[in-house]
């Protein structure tokens, strides 16, 4: 049945355009601000196109504000954390999906309920624990916190994906001579790629934006991450709007690029997780 033109416009394209405008305007505004000279940012009339445009803010953010160091630190923490989050989430999700054991429902409920605990409540006890372990000031403390807070949700997420993979495929592999672990590695994991990518993407965003524990646990500016760097551009009596905007563009560049590259897996993954055997 052919869709009417009016339906196409008002029920498909117009909502899409409006949503995109709503989402893209702040990003475009940030980009324009990052390309303006500092003195032009607050001037009236408002200039919607920077004139003259300058890359000076990016140089300031990258060099003066040490975003080169913070970017590297954020990448390091994110890559290590995401790796372990995915591994632990796969193991936990598989157990929750495939095995029946006592306390399973209670455990799942606990994983869900943990999400409701405000992170700030755990700040001082975690600080004390890490301090005793000699981890305060080290990126490892932030990595451990990120893994701990991210894997419960991601375990439940991956459980859904694993549930969509028929167990009969694993059984068939075992009949053909694979051990249980080999069957998981050779059958389940390849089919789980969309789920792994989805999990990794969500975990990456959470870790990349992590601020509270990074701020409290890191005592050396050489270990600071991008969110801390952005916060430091807002001084007590001054805000470097241009450098702040440039820093924000730098901060969002990786997640945007990541999502752009992985979007086909994400779309597949979102759909696959909804269908079970």
């Amino acid at each position: 049945m052919k869709t009417k033109l009016s339906d196409k416009i008002f029920r498909r394209w117009l909502p899409l355009v409006l949503i995109n405008i709503f989402v893209l305007i702040p990003i475009w505004w940030t980009l324009v601000t990052s390309l303006k000279q500092e003195g032009d940012i607050l001037k009236k009339p408002v200039r919607y196109i920077p004139d003259p445009a300058t890359l000076e803010n990016y140089m300031r953010a990258w060099v003066n504000c040490r975003f080169d160091r913070y970017f590297f630190n954020s990448m390091r923490i994110a890559v290590v954390s995401v790796f372990f989050i995915v591994v632990i989430a796969i193991i936990t999700g598989y157990a929750l999906s495939r095995f029946q054991f006592q306390g399973k429902n209670g455990f799942m409920l606990m994983l869900l309920c943990i999400q409701f605990i405000p992170h700030a409540v755990l700040l001082i006890p975690l600080f004390q624990i890490f301090n005793t372990m000699g981890l305060i000031g080290k990126p490892l403390s932030v990595i451990l916190v990120c893994i701990t807070f991210q894997f419960p949700f991601n375990s439940i997420l991956i459980r859904g994906f694993i549930g969509g993979i028929p167990y009969t495929l694993e059984e068939a592999a075992q009949i053909d001579g694979c051990s249980w672990l080999m069957a998981v590695w050779k059958v389940v994991i390849p089919m789980l790629i969309p789920g792994i990518v989805t999990t990794a993407a969500f975990a990456f965003i959470g870790v990349w934006n992590e601020f509270l524990f990074s701020m409290m646990f890191l005592n050396d500016a050489n270990n600071y991450t991008i969110p801390i760097g952005l916060k430091m551009m807002q001084g007590e009596y001054n805000i470097s709007y241009g450098a702040l905007a440039a820093g924000a563009i730098i901060a969002m560049s990786i997640p945007v690029a990541l999502f752009a590259y992985l979007q086909k897996y994400l779309v597949t993954g979102m759909g696959a997780g909804a269908v079970k055997g």
């Binding site: 500092e38 003195g39 940012i41 607050l42 001037k43 009236k44 300031r60 003066n64 504000c65 700040l123 001082i124 600080f127 004390q128 624990i129 890490f130 301090n131 005793t132 372990m133 000699g134 981890l135 305060i136 000031g137 701020m215 409290m216 005592n219 050396d220 500016a221 801390i228 916060k231 430091m232 551009m233 807002q234 001084g235 007590e236 009596y237 001054n238 805000i239 470097s240 450098a243």
Partner: protein
């Protein structure tokens, strides 16, 4: 197979329990500084003050950590330079500089103090000091200062206000810089309206109405209605009334003085007549942006935002009014505290830490720092430097401070709970006054009642400490 799985499970459980117990173990902690390998002679003979650790050995280099509680790009550049200069003269001390974002600095300090990992020294706002002193987190510097010749150049009025913070009257920090409350005014908008500078707060309110032209999107004033509003208004009202006592002889707060009610009523009347509607939730950034964009003719802030205005409006296009006539014809500086440098009790090298904060407060460093950021140095020598004298509003402020005729009135930041009262209650009440939901009298009466209660509790606490 089942036995193997059970055994493996038990092993994993034991390992995880072991890790958990390890984390909950004793207080070995991570020191924030390295200690000198051997005890040695006291450093440079100037600071002989009390110390629980062995004095720093001049032949061994010690590393101290300094936290800058108001980190920014310019602060980092300034401190990098000053630390280089300090280390050239003090080869036995290495300074590890840690910048902290201003909005999170208090929380970071609190966490560090609670866990015994506070830095050797750092920048602190004076209105945090009550909390830190109650937690016994700061080192009293009196003994160190006794042997510090350049300490005589510190501004005594601010040092006295710091001593007033502590029940034992000791000096727990050195005042480094202050910002004076200031009405910033757009010269062009004033000239276009053919008006003159206001001389008191009621004239400011009148002028705000006269400079408003909503058809052109221009407003006479931009109010800080959100975070920080009540603290800012507190300075305004005491500037207006000239009242020098925060509490009367009976210990009752003077916040609801009739002159304060008069000013608040006039000020609240400006909202949505001479100010944008959005001012209700304005923080510092929005208020300054309104002024710098030329939307608002006046704002009330402090000298600290000078750099922002100069960057956008340009030198000569705005005026700073730091003194307005009060009803009692007194000349007073209303202070909500200085920015200070302090030494923390967790430091393993308090002598070295004091040498660094003392350096920051001496002429060169204090002058260099404040000349870059446009704030008033708390050092007599620095106040007479060219960069102060050549800028009109800075010179006016310096003259007032050095004249000896000016009274420093510090709002009651020493009272425990003062800061929380402002953050948690008074901002909301201020917004209700702007919206005409409650009257100025009611708001100030409630404020006075709360402040009086806090003062009574604070006095009882001092009495229990034997003070």
């Amino acid at each position: 197979m089942k036995k193997q799985k059970r055994g493996f499970s038990l092993l994993m459980s034991a390992a995880l329990t072991g890790v958990l117990l390890c984390g909950c173990g004793g207080q070995s902690g991570t020191p924030t500084t390295t200690q000198a390998a051997q005890p040695g002679t006291a450093a440079d003979g100037q600071t002989q003050g009390q110390s629980q650790s062995a004095p720093a050995d001049s032949s061994e280099q010690v590393t101290i950590t300094f936290w800058d509680h108001s980190a920014s790009e310019i602060h980092t550049q300034i401190f990098t330079h000053l630390i280089e200069e300090f280390e050239k003269e003090n080869h036995d001390i290495k300074v590890n500089f840690v910048p902290i974002p201003a909005s999170d600095a208090k929380a970071k300090y609190d966490v560090a103090i609670q866990s015994g990992t506070a830095p050797d020294c750092g920048g602190v706002s004076q209105y945090w000091m009550s909390d830190f002193i109650v937690q016994n987190a700061l080192v009293a510097l009196d003994d160190y200062m006794a042997g510090w010749d350049n300490g005589q150049y510190l501004l005594e009025m601010y040092q006295q206000s710091i001593r007033d913070m502590a029940s034992d009257g000791k000096t727990y920090a050195l005042a480094h810089r202050v910002t004076l409350p200031t009405v910033w005014l757009n010269n062009q908008m004033l000239a276009d309206a053919g008006k003159e500078l206001p001389s008191d707060w009621l004239e400011v309110c009148e002028l705000a109405q006269e400079l408003t032209d909503t058809s052109k999107g221009l407003y006479g004033f931009s109010i800080r209605g959100g975070a920080g509003s009540s603290q800012q208004f507190e300075q305004m009202m005491y500037m207006h009334s000239g009242e020098e006592m925060m509490f009367d002889e009976n210990g009752n707060s003077t916040v609801n003085d009739p002159a304060h009610v008069e000013l608040l009523a006039a000020f609240a009347d400006l909202y949505m007549k001479a100010t944008p509607e959005s001012d209700l939730t304005n923080g510092y950034a929005e208020m300054v942006a309104a002024f710098d964009s030329g939307t608002a003719a006046m704002i009330f802030h402090n000298l600290g935002s000078y750099g922002e205005h100069k960057k956008t409006l340009g030198e000569g296009n705005f005026t700073a009014i730091t003194t307005l006539e009060s009803k009692k014809e007194t000349q007073a500086i209303i202070s909500n505290g200085a920015t200070c440098n302090a030494v923390f009790k967790d430091s393993k090298n308090p002598e070295a830490a004091f040498r660094f904060v003392a350096y920051l407060n001496e002429h060169y460093a204090c002058s260099y720092f404040n000349s870059q950021i446009g704030q008033i140095p708390c050092n007599e020598e620095a106040l007479q430097d060219d960069w102060v004298v050549e800028v009109t509003h800075m010179k006016a402020a310096a003259d007032a401070i050095l004249s000896g005729n000016c009274t420093l009135i510090t709002v009651p930041i020493n009272v425990i709970g003062y800061y929380d009262l402002h953050n948690n209650e008074l901002v909301q009440g201020f917004q209700q006054v702007l919206l005409k939901e409650i009257s100025a009298q009611q708001y100030l009466d409630d404020w006075a009642e709360s402040m009086t209660g806090l003062k009574k509790d604070y006095d009882a606490y001092l009495a229990s400490m034997g003070q």
